[in-house]
Amino acid sequence: MELTEKQLQWKDEFRAFVDEVVVPHADVHDREQYLEPQVIQKMKEKGYLGSMLEKKYGGMELDWVTIGILNEEIGRGCSSVRNLLTVHGMVALAILRWGSDEQRNHWLSTMAAGEKIGAFALTEPEVGSDAKNVQTTAVLSDDHYVLNGHKKWITMGQIADVFIVFAQCEGKPTAFLVERDSPGLTTTPIDSLLGSRGSMLASLHFENCKIPKENMVGTVGIGLSHVGLHCLDYGRYTVACGCVGLGQACLEQSLQYARSRKQFGSVLGENQLIQKMLTEMTVNVKAARLLCYHAGHLKDQIDPDSIMETWNAKYFASKMVNQAASDAVQIHGANGCSGDYPVERYLRDAKINEIIEGTTQIHEMLISKNSLRNT
């Protein structure tokens, strides 16, 4: 699959932006466990926080392949910045697809401009993959829904202005928009994570949290089957593309090191066992990229098969990047275990991708069942 001239131009623009704005701050994001405000500000100025939204809301209205390229390039620079694009877009697209006219008019322009940041609140202390059994509840009381429960591991939970929260309503999973300043909502930062440490995670505590009844997204009972899975489809796609970018970063760093580091009188790149790792990294990054492009192309065609192809792409890309990052550290030896080179961060960030947006094992269950049924 070849990119169009326009897509290639976007790729050049994104790459230059990441090299100039994102890469220089990635280590600080990891070390200090936050996103530099000037990086977010420059993302806003470029319009990237509206990359997934239509122009009528002030968005960039990019095609899906180009959205993938943006997430690949941002992911090459910093997994936490890519996480911002992912969770913010999940909320924006849920509102766009299943929100009311009032919700679209109220939120989408400000979200496209990045004036309001969104975050996705599904996971709970006792509920991860088993999402339909979330324990948070929402009960209608006059003109309000009253939420009670606890969400955990919420990416960008420290800075988001609005959360899409999944709760049992009349015993069925249902989605709600909850603003940060809603009465009864408190957030607690989560730190010292293994990877993606700049993603500003938080726990959310709902204690008789009152929200207007108009804040329901969609209807009672479609919270997961339609709203949540729509969000997660975008999440899975952008995580997969981010893995390609992170894999590319592993490759580029490893090539640079293999060209310059000398042992036994020659550069590492002359060593056949190093060449093997570089070969596998080169080919596997390309393969993951092609799976992502294919999923993006099908999304542009509004093809129902795009959903499974996105699962395939995320499964392969997240496994691929773990091997790539592990090999990148191996090539760097002791240097790769230190903060002097970015590959140790790449390895920690890589692991997160096998857990978020569906674990590798959930992917193995779903993809194999799909193959058994359809092939």
């Binding site: 089957s225 339609h226 899975l229």
Partner: protein, 78 residues
């Protein structure tokens, strides 16, 4: 309506490969579809028939059988 029926049946056939789905049979009671099916079905209907499925259409009764789906498409297209 007949063309709609053929197209819907063709789409559903890949999910019900080992079962000859009848027009009035309850799709969801058969246990063939997974959690992604609802999303795939909505995408298919919107693309194939140029309709927009919105919140108020998301009543299970609109999707429970081939007949129900065809009626929804017919209603949305008219």
């Amino acid at each position: 309506m007949e063309t709609t029926n053929v197209k819907v049946k063709q789409f559903l056939s890949k999910f019900f490969r080992k079962h000859e789905l009848q027009d009035d049979e309850d799709i969801f009671s058969l246990g063939f579809v997974n959690s992604l099916f609802a999303m795939q079905l909505v995408m298919f209907l919107e693309k194939e028939f140029g309709i927009k499925v919105d919140n108020k259409d998301l009543d299970m009764s609109n999707f429970k059988s081939i007949n129900a789906i065809c009626e929804l498409v017919d209603r949305k297209a008219s």
